[in-house]
């Protein structure tokens, strides 16, 4: 199913999903050529982030993690300044001081990004505290991985949010379901005795809902209720969005195992390669979203092709912009410790 929205807005959501996909693909390719350090990509989770964050407005805050690229792009950030930040350039959102782990853009409602697992949870809860005490109807969105639920900061913060009935949505993206990384001797994740994960929120007396994170309609509707609830002063909500881990998603060194996404797979089954066919056919929320748009007549293949060409160009231009941008002057390192 599709979110209950006018067609043009749905098409815009598809465009944003494709921006994210092409951005991350471009980044992986860039990293194959040069050592840009490690980073984490959002491929396979676009159908969660884009519909969910489409419900936010100016003044709302979002707190994200090491896996932030998709979230910030979903709120309309400029891919060029994002990539520039990832390369540590002067033109980046943080003027090179943050890098991939810490991209921040106040204009898009991302005041800071913590890469300490669980680090964003108290911060997001505090922003909601401020909205509550200031009497404004803004909301705070805390995006967290399933692994972050293992940290004590989760327990301490969610209790505060519940007791104070704060306007916050904890949106946990559970991407551990095919824990490739774990098998490869990298980060074990979801080392959690509590199951379902929603128990970790519902016991504090708040709505706690597990949804299919590749089902954009479910994401949109659940998030809409949560955001409205928060704006109305009715308190926090926990949402666990279950996604299937993208096969290329090594925790630190993602690989384009599934190739660059061919949007033709939305309408042409022959375009789907045998390897990873299940992934392309059923698990990739972006492709599913495109198929639904086509089926409901909100768009046609040629329009998708055009959008894709445009965003692919956007990503290429972003890479070029980032590469062409200068590094900050070294002595800039000493500036901006204090306001």
């Amino acid at each position: 199913m599709l979110p209950d929205l006018p067609g043009d807005q749905l098409v815009e959501q598809l465009r944003l999903m494709l921006v994210i996909r092409r951005f991350e693909e471009a980044l992986i390719k860039l990293a194959a050529d040069r050592d840009i350090g490690h980073f984490h990509v959002y491929i396979g989770q676009e159908a969660t982030g884009v519909p969910a964050l489409s419900l936010l407005r100016d003044g709302d805050f979002t707190f994200t993690t090491h896996r932030n690229h998709g979230h910030i792009l979903a709120r309309g950030a400029d891919p060029a300044r994002m990539l520039a930040e990832i390369l540590g350039k002067e033109t980046g959102y943080n003027r090179g001081k943050g890098g991939t782990l810490h991209i921040a853009s106040l204009e898009h409602g991302f005041p800071t990004t913590s890469a300490a697992t669980g680090g964003c949870i108290p911060l997001a809860t505090g922003a909601a505290f401020a909205f509550d005490r200031r009497g404004v109807d803004n909301v705070s969105v805390c995006l967290l991985g399933d692994g972050a639920l293992e940290e004590g900061s989760w327990h301490e913060s969610v209790n505060i949010a519940a007791l104070e009935s704060l306007p916050i949505i904890y949106l946990c993206e559970n991407n551990s379901l095919e824990a490739l990384g774990q098998k490869a001797g990298e980060y074990p994740s979801s080392t959690m005795a509590a199951a379902p994960l929603t128990d970790l929120a519902s016991i504090y007396k708040m709505p706690a809902i597990a949804i299919d994170g590749t089902d954009s309609a479910e994401v949109y509707t659940t998030m809409k209720t949560a955001v409205e609830r928060a704006r109305a002063g009715e308190g926090p909500t926990f949402i666990e969005a279950r996604t299937v881990r993208w096969p290329g998603n090594r925790p630190l060194w993602p690989q384009l195992l599934t190739g660059e996404t061919d949007v033709a797979m939305m309408w042409d089954d022959d375009a789907i390669p045998a390897e990873h066919a299940a992934w392309h056919r059923t698990n990739d929320g972006l492709l599913t979203f495109g198929r639904l748009l086509l089926a409901d007549g909100h768009t046609i293949a040629s329009q998708i092709g055009e959008i894709d060409a445009a965003v692919t160009k956007l990503a290429e231009d972003a890479v070029q912009f980032a590469l062409d941008s200068p590094y900050p002057a070294p002595e800039e390192a000493l500036a901006d410790v204090f306001a």
Binding site: N94, G98, P122, L123, F131, R134, G152, N159, I160
Partner: protein
């Protein structure tokens, strides 16, 4: 200037901050610890109940929430109670608050104050007697104030609340009972980075912070009786630090004793000694001396606690050793 109790000055500046600025919220409430002064906080609690938040026993949660709230339009003054509990909040204080403005490229401000009661308090034993200011000073991105008198707590906290940076307010329970003159001017404030020479002297420079300033002033009187004219320099803020004031005093007296309640290794005194050893080497006529807590966990038993504390006696002895 009328004389006022430190504890009263503390409550006054908190109350005024809440009164004058809607954005100021108190998060936590043990500003006066569990001393007999604590009921003075009722005046804020009762008049501004919606501006005082009582958190669960969840330091990483509520201290982190204060940081988040600071980014979203409040100016929280968060109380961590006994300084030792700041360790629970370290991931948020050290790895979030201190980094946010810098990491964001100078965009996101974190205007807030962390308050805690540090130090050897009498019976606090190993787990309730920490002086975390050296660790915080080793964390770039935090301003640090350490008032030692009623006037200073008024003036420094006013500046801290107005500051756009996360500021640690190092407080000491033993200061609450100190009485001293305080300016009545509601606009009186003390700029950060300006040391206060609390006693002029020419024979030896005694640098001290927080509660140790009081002990050092008493030590200076005893030294005077022995014909030694000590200068007592109170930096008042560690970040920013008024290096000039310290160096000027040392260039005059050519002798330095630093008194500080942190443990010795990598403590606040180590840093001040290091600065002088680097910057004023030629000025010194004698070795520098540190008077600090000994490097053992703080023991419970009163005679043991006293043995490892930096005391007035030890300051006097150190000053004598470099002046004789």
């Amino acid at each position: 200037m009328t004389d006022i109790l430190y504890a009263k000055a503390l409550v006054q500046v908190l109350r005024e901050s809440v009164e004058h600025d809607d954005r100021v919220h108190l998060m936590g409430q043990y500003f006066l610890g569990l001393t007999h002064h604590r009921e003075m906080m009722a005046e804020i609690r009762d008049n501004y109940p919606e501006r005082v938040y009582y958190p669960p026993i969840a330091e990483v949660g509520y201290v982190g929430a204060a940081i988040g709230a600071a980014m979203a339009g409040l100016r929280p003054i968060v109380d961590i109670a006994t300084a030792s509990f700041i360790f629970q909040a370290f991931p948020q204080v050290v790895n979030e608050a201190a980094n946010i403005y810098y990491m964001s490229g100078g965009k996101t401000k974190v205007p807030m104050v962390f308050h805690f009661n540090q130090g050897i308090r009498g019976g606090g034993a190993a787990q309730h007697s920490h002086s975390p200011q050296a660790m915080l000073w080793n964390t770039p991105g935090l301003e640090i104030i350490a008032p030692s008198t009623p006037a200073d707590v008024l003036g420094l906290v006013r500046t801290a609340v107005a500051s756009d940076n996360p500021t640690a307010w190092v407080d000491h329970i033993k200061l609450f009972d100190v009485t001293g003159p305080a300016p009545e001017d509601a606009n009186y404030s003390i700029p950060f980075g300006v040391a206060d020479v609390k006693r002029k002297g020419s024979d030896v420079t005694l640098v001290a912070t927080s509660w140790m300033v009081q002990k050092t002033l008493a030590a200076a009187e005893r030294l005077a009786e022995q014909g030694i004219d000590a200068e007592v320099v109170d930096p008042r803020t560690l970040v920013p630090l008024d290096e000039t004031a310290i160096l000027e005093s040392v260039s005059k007296t050519r002798r330095l004793v630093v008194a500080d309640e942190c443990h010795r290794r990598c403590g606040v005194a180590a840093e001040i000694v290091a600065i002088v050893a680097e910057e004023a080497f030629g000025d010194l006529a004698a070795p520098i001396r540190r008077v600090t807590a000994d490097d053992v966990p703080v023991p419970f038993s009163p005679p043991l606690e006293e043995y490892i504390e930096p005391t007035e006696d030890k300051i006097v002895a150190a000053a004598l050793s470099v002046t004789s």
